[in-house]
């Protein structure tokens, strides 16, 4: 009896996943290639699509860099339970529960041209809202938790005695970070970076609000897909969607690999 239920349960799960993920994903691929390789290639290499893809790439690159540089110290802060660590943890996790649209709006409220900070920044010729810096800020906001989340458990598992051993052996804090911490945290960091990349590529709500989605100025790949579908340019929408979907698929494969490698790494401690 239980075997029958297992088969029924598994079948329902597969059908559900197929309807929810597989079929729409396949539909996008079919839509992108419906007219053959020529129209697909033309769509993804159009000036507007290339600009949007490049903008997404640039935002993702800056976000990865900033999250790495700021995320690691925050992860150590939380893992070490340094003064105020609960507040830092709460702030880092906040983006997980806040709607990206709300996050984008909040950034506009603070950095918009009518806000005090935004006006000041404009005065010194730094445009945040409806410009690249604002889009980066919005993406950083929604991706901040990933590196911290992935590295805190690893830092705690490693403990602090190896670091102290390195100090006693003559290593400076920087050398200790380089020779002791980073090699042991690499899988957790890479996993966090992969998640950050996936989220950055797909971010829509926060970036939409903060960028204003101005064609060839503040348009990312997801905004391009949205705009193309609204304008009923389905070929273009499908083609860029397919590219984003394939990138996500590649990332999922990478994440699986990192998870296995990271698991091995953690077990070694």
């Amino acid at each position: 009896m239980s075997k029958v239920w297992t088969v029924v349960g598994t079948s329902i799960a597969y059908v559900w996943l197929l309807l929810l993920v597989g079929v729409p994903f396949a539909a996008v691929l079919v839509g992108a290639l419906a007219g053959g390789w020529g129209p697909f290639w033309q769509s993804v290499t159009s000036q507007e699509a290339l600009f949007a893809l490049r903008m997404t790439g640039e935002i993702t690159g800056v976000t990865l860099l900033v999250n790495l540089v700021l995320g690691l110290p925050m992860a150590f802060w939380i893992a070490r339970r340094a003064p105020g660590w609960r507040m830092v943890q709460w702030l880092v996790e906040l983006p997980l529960s806040v709607s990206p649209v709300v996050a984008g709006l909040a950034l506009i409220v603070v950095y918009g041209p009518n806000a005090f900070i935004g006006a000041f920044l404009l005065h010194i010729h730094v445009k945040v809202a409806f410009a690249f810096p604002g889009m980066v800020l919005a993406t950083i906001f929604v991706t901040l938790p990933f590196i911290v989340h992935e590295t805190v458990p690893a830092i705690r598992a490693i403990g602090d005695t190896q670091e102290q051993a390195a100090y006693v052996l003559g290593a400076s804090p920087w050398r200790t970070l380089w020779r002791v911490w980073l090699p042991q945290l690499k899988w957790s960091i890479l996993y966090g970076l992969a998640l950050t990349t996936a989220r950055s590529l797909g971010e829509f709500g926060a970036v939409l609000v903060v960028s204003g989605s101005i064609v060839m100025v503040t348009e990312t790949a997801t905004l391009f897909v949205y705009q193309a579908s609204v304008n009923n340019e389905m070929q273009a929408a499908y083609a860029v969607s397919a590219l984003l979907a394939l990138a996500s698929f590649a990332l999922i494969l990478l994440l699986q690999f990192l998870k296995r490698a990271g698991g091995r790494n953690l077990r070694d401690h």
Partner: protein, 343 residues
């Protein structure tokens, strides 16, 4: 290298004092054991010597140089951690060479030093293994080799044998002592195991609640305990409270003299080691006590005897005589040696 603590105090951020105005001097080439129960401040003292903890008051001197404000990187000490703290992502070779690399020792010289230490530690064939591929004893030897590689002037051990099986622990104790003697360093080790401290150390610093109770040779702290804590913590002991009457206290039927400075009526603690009580067979009427239980311990046997006042004493007798003191036997007690301390 000598090590000197002058009025060292350490207060944790929460306000708890782990070390309270401690002063002592360790001689060059000496091996000193820091002995005390949990929370006595022994690990804090070790970490202060290493520079991993900064005293809130007082000064630390190593080799006649004030090092209180010196970071661990500049102290030239070697530290073997309780859990070894080996770099898990590095091979045995890389672990041992870590300190030499940090000191930018030329490659040939570094390689020769690492090979020499691996040979000395009987780890030559493990050079390319990772820490998780080694046994506890092997990891301990790697940690020791790593600490010794940069030729430290002072070698520190934090509970070095705590995580090792009893059998290997004995071998390692001898080995560590041999390393200390051959390398000619000054060594300090933390332990809560008094047998370990008495066996390995030249002198033992007994700590209790952040204070130094006594600093002396193993014989001194065992045979001439300076405080009630040392007398009861080092070795087995029977500890009783007695009121002084006419300058004496009564213990097992004998009136023992007390320091004349102690006034009549005040209470003192009397400490008697189990080996310092002689038993004689006696009739029930003349006996001081009755044997309750006995246990074979190898070369000696432990007997627990209940006096007519209801006190239960531990007494050690030669195992050959064990049959004479079976449970139920009535005995006469003769206390041959005792220590009296104010309460």
């Amino acid at each position: 290298m000598t090590i000197e603590f002058v009025g060292v105090e350490n207060i944790y951020p929460g306000g708890a004092r782990s070390v309270r105005g401690v002063s002592f001097q360790i001689r060059e080439g000496e091996m000193v054991g820091l002995l005390g129960p949990s929370g006595s401040g022994k690990t804090t003292i070790l970490r202060i010597i290493a520079g991993l903890e900064r005293p809130t008051k007082g000064d630390v001197w190593i080799g006649g140089k004030r090092v209180t404000d010196l970071p661990p990187q500049k102290r030239n000490v070697g530290l073997v951690f309780q859990n070894y703290a080996l770099f898990q992502h590095m091979t045995v070779y890389d672990n041992v060479s870590f300190g030499l690399r940090e000191k930018r020792v030329p490659k040939d010289e570094m390689d020769a030093r690492v090979r020499e230490l691996l040979r000395f530690m009987r780890l030559e064939s493990y050079a390319n293994r990772f820490p998780h591929e080694l046994s506890g004893g092997q990891q301990q030897r790697v940690a020791l080799a790593r600490a010794l590689a940069p030729r430290p002037q002072v070698l520190l051990f934090d509970e070095p044998f705590a995580a090792i099986d009893t059998q290997i622990r004995r071998e390692l104790r001898t080995f560590v002592r041999q390393v200390h003697d051959e390398m000619g360093v000054t060594s300090v080790f933390v332990t809560h195991d008094q047998e370990e401290a008495l066996e390995v150390a030249d002198r033992v610093l007994v700590l209790h609640e952040g204070n130094v109770e006594q600093f002396g040779t193993p014989e001194e702290v065992y045979e001439k305990p300076g405080t009630l804590f040392v007398a009861s913590f080092i070795g087995e002991s029977n500890v009783w409270t007695r009121a002084v009457q006419n300058g004496r206290i009564e213990v097992a039927g004998a009136a023992l003299p007390v320091d004349p400075a102690v006034s009549d009526g005040s209470e003192v603690a009397v400490v008697v080691r189990p080996k310092d009580v002689e038993l004689q067979p006696a009739s029930e009427r003349e006996a001081h006590a009755q044997v309750v239980r006995s246990a074979f311990k190898g070369s000696y046997s432990a007997c627990w005897i209940r006096t007519k006042d209801g006190e239960v004493w531990e007494v050690h007798v030669p195992s050959a005589d064990r049959h004479r003191w079976s449970p139920g036997a009535w005995v006469h007690m003769n206390v041959t040696r005792w220590f009296i301390f104010p309460r």
